[in-house]
């Protein structure tokens, strides 16, 4: 990771002759990037809501909105890797739940610290993820079916581990990790999530595994013919997805402070994670997208849904809101052959037969 800053520096250093056209082109190109779009739209939603209610823009609220979505963000980063291989992982909810529950019991009953339980959370996730990977890569089951199956199986495992018990009281270190922040603005878990997003962005961009993920997602047969071990790439992708869901479980536990037999599945966290992945610019057809977009999309979703509440819109509309945002994100993608928001609006506004 040490090489990243030097490259960033190079990219940032301005070219001496500044001409208006080049600047305009740069602005247009960066606005075409989903990451930039998300930052702009998030700030916009933030500004509008703040104008409506000045209480929205307190540092405490910002910090809370970020911390509140970090479990989803971390799960979405893993989901992104799987989606990039042209797969999907529906089973992340019970993986998160199982990790949260298992670590929660040990914390509650034996007082183990988050750092001591981190390896356990990761291992639970990795093992469950490996199950998905084997089903997809070696048994050749389509990802949506394989992980639909394990969604049920892992929910069962979570129920067995719960055995009718719940995690309700945790050592204070958990609450501190999940809810405290620096300068009452930058939540600890937000930084953890950002580090994970950047780390995996680097892995995807600059390692053999990352390259292979894009190759497999674009064209698995061509990847095989280029000497890439497609099965290995798939297994690793699902293991990573599971591992990050495990990490998400620990973050969830720290933030919420409780866990039970339906943690994760009860809030359909896998669907929110997939939504963040798609809104973040990755496509279900594979080979396109990245983790930073997913991270930003998770924060955007959190802000947008909080804004709904602030405008006193009944929370019953929340799922519909997420759905609409997914659809808008699809239409905002100008790089596919699909009609875009702009072309649809132009077509609607144009009178039929009005063009020569």
């Amino acid at each position: 990771m040490a090489t990243a800053p030097s490259d960033m520096h190079l990219a940032r250093s301005p070219s001496p002759p500044v001409d208006a056209k080049a600047v305009a082109r740069l602005v247009r190109q960066s606005l075409a990037r989903r990451e930039v779009q998300l930052v702009v739209v998030t700030l916009l939603v933030f500004a509008i809501t703040t104008a409506h209610d000045s209480g929205f823009a307190t540092t405490g609220n910002i910090s809370f909105l970020i911390a509140d979505t970090m479990a989803v963000a971390i799960v979405a980063i893993g989901e992104t890797i799987v989606v990039l291989t042209r797969g999907i992982d529906l089973s992340v909810a019970p993986i998160l739940g199982t990790a949260a529950l298992a670590t929660g019991f040990l914390a509650q009953n034996h007082g183990l610290t988050p750092l001591e339980l981190l390896p356990l959370a990761l291992v639970i996730g990795a093992v469950m993820g490996a199950g998905n990977g084997v089903l997809v890569a070696f048994a050749g089951i389509p990802p949506i079916i394989a992980t639909l199956g394990t969604l049920a199986v892992y929910s069962g495992v979570q129920g067995i581990i719960a055995n009718g018990q719940e995690v309700v009281t945790l050592p204070p270190s958990y609450f501190n990790l999940g809810n405290d922040d620096w300068f009452s603005a930058i939540p600890y878990v937000g930084v953890i999530g950002l580090a994970v997003a950047l780390g995996f962005a680097l892995i995807l961009w600059r390692t053999r595994f990352g390259r292979n993920v894009y190759a497999v997602g674009n064209n698995a047969e061509a990847a095989r013919r280029a000497g890439i071990d497609v099965k290995r790439v798939l297994v690793i992708a699902y293991v990573l997805s599971g591992t990050l869901a495990g990490l998400g479980g620990l973050v969830f536990l720290a933030h919420v402070g409780s866990a039970d037999s339906t943690t994760g599945t009860d809030s359909n966290i896998q669907l929110t994670a997939i939504a963040a992945t798609l809104i973040g610019g990755s496509t279900l057809t594979g080979g396109k997208g990245g983790t930073i977009g997913s991270y930003l999309a998770a924060i955007f979703l959190s802000v947008a849904l909080a804004a709904l509440v602030d405008f006193r819109i009944n929370p019953i509309w929340e799922p519909a809101g997420v759905g609409v945002l997914i659809l808008v994100a699809m239409l905002a993608d100008t790089t596919t052959g699909r009609p875009t928001l702009r072309s649809i609006l132009t077509a609607l506004l144009e009178r039929p037969g009005g063009r020569p």
Binding site: T3, L202, N218, A222, R225, P356
Partner: protein
Amino acid sequence: MYEQHGAVVAPDEPVDELTELGPASGGNPDAVAEPVAYAAAGITKSFAGAVALRDVSVTFLPGEIHTLVGENGAGKSTLLRVMAGIHQADAGSLTLGGEPLTHLTPRAAQQRGIYLVPQEPTLMPHLSVVENLFVGILPKGRLPFSIDWRRMRETAGGYFAQLGLKLDPRQKAETLSIAQQQQLECARALVHNCNVIFFDEPTSPLTAHEAQLLFALMRRLRERQFTLGFISHRLDEVLELSDRITVLRDARVAARFDGAEATRDRLVNEMVGHEVKLQRRTARSGGEGGVALAVSGLTRAREFESISFAVAKGEVLGLAGLVGSGRTEIAETIFGLRRADHGTAELEGRKLLMPSPRSCIDRGLIYLSEDRGRNGIFAEVQLAENVTASIVPHLPRRRGLLRPASERALAQEAMDRTRVRTLNQAALIKSLSGGNQQKAMFARWLVTNPKVAIFDEPTRGVDVGAKADIYTLIGGLAESGVAVVVISSELEELTWICDRALAIYEGRVVGELAGEQITVARLGRLIVGER
């Protein structure tokens, strides 16, 4: 809609004669009846800033085969796609039989009798042959909501007899070869009662024999006053078939010829804008460099049997055969994509045991797949990373991370060798022309520094300029000591570049020719099983 086609598909009138199919076949007055001219005037079209067509005017007349030629990216396909309603022109007009067409969509075009047989067949893989044929116009059966399957099958059988096709109407489209899929597309145009038919490079996946069947059909359609548009990169067939030829270059019309006055040299010069000579490589006898690849007794049930041959360093060996003769399967088995039942391949005297693409690549054996769209490119990935995809494990890195700068330099070097013409390495490969994509695939394999290179249809769907580059490249590889195996349906190509050629027929090697013995006529006889 159904009635409109009733006249054509009447069950008690099996379609034996093409007269039943023609535009003048009568029936519903709404259906296309008269031969019509189809004109495009001043068409301009650009994609995301790249101009594909610049003020192009072309008229297609009934009773003529009008051919568009030009290099990849010259705008031929785009023009036909505009005329078939797939793309909307930025400027210019379309006139069908004197009537202007506006806001043309693919559906509207088909209803007006305009059909584009696309470059890559677009069949529905899980539907049967007959369903694909009648898609959109399924004939009604007696019961409400029912479909008259028998009538469809009988009619389809009639068309197939017409076209000389051996297709089972009940077969699933996914089980068809590329050639058969192409044939089915042609049949579909007739079934849909179209009288303006465009063929976008229909012959590139076809063998010579299959192409001749298609040409026979096109000539008969011409007699029936159909309006026919055709795109091909094979100039011999262009000269053989065309009444009129329009040459496109750099998105403009470069020249127009009458079929009779056109010659190969004149066409090529107009296409590339300068002189290009495709000529025979000076053949050399192999052997002095030692054997690089030796295949013995390679067998896979129902695909090929007892295949044995050897290629020397610096030699170019051709494998000639019809589509389905087993030539691609042989290459894929050597490269570890399929498992051999018997037999082995030896690379420089060492057996390839349980080969996989990775182990072959690492030991210096590479295989360029015949279908770059399906088995080659990573569409959404940058050009440079497409080139280095096969050597990612061996790329330079620092602290475990790849170094984009040195990777790009490596890719650039390979792309210079293969003459990929593009300014931007960061461009997604899908934005490149077919010829440049193919050269990028060559670059992907050249960066591995192969000792043995198997090229399957190296110039499929590639223009004359790129073809010449690829021949030069293959010659240069052999010169530098690489053993090259070329699989091709274009026999002429094999006569140009091979030192030696094997003919494959029904999974067996049926003949071997060397040097001056390699002629189109001799290869052509061998690959259909004649002596």
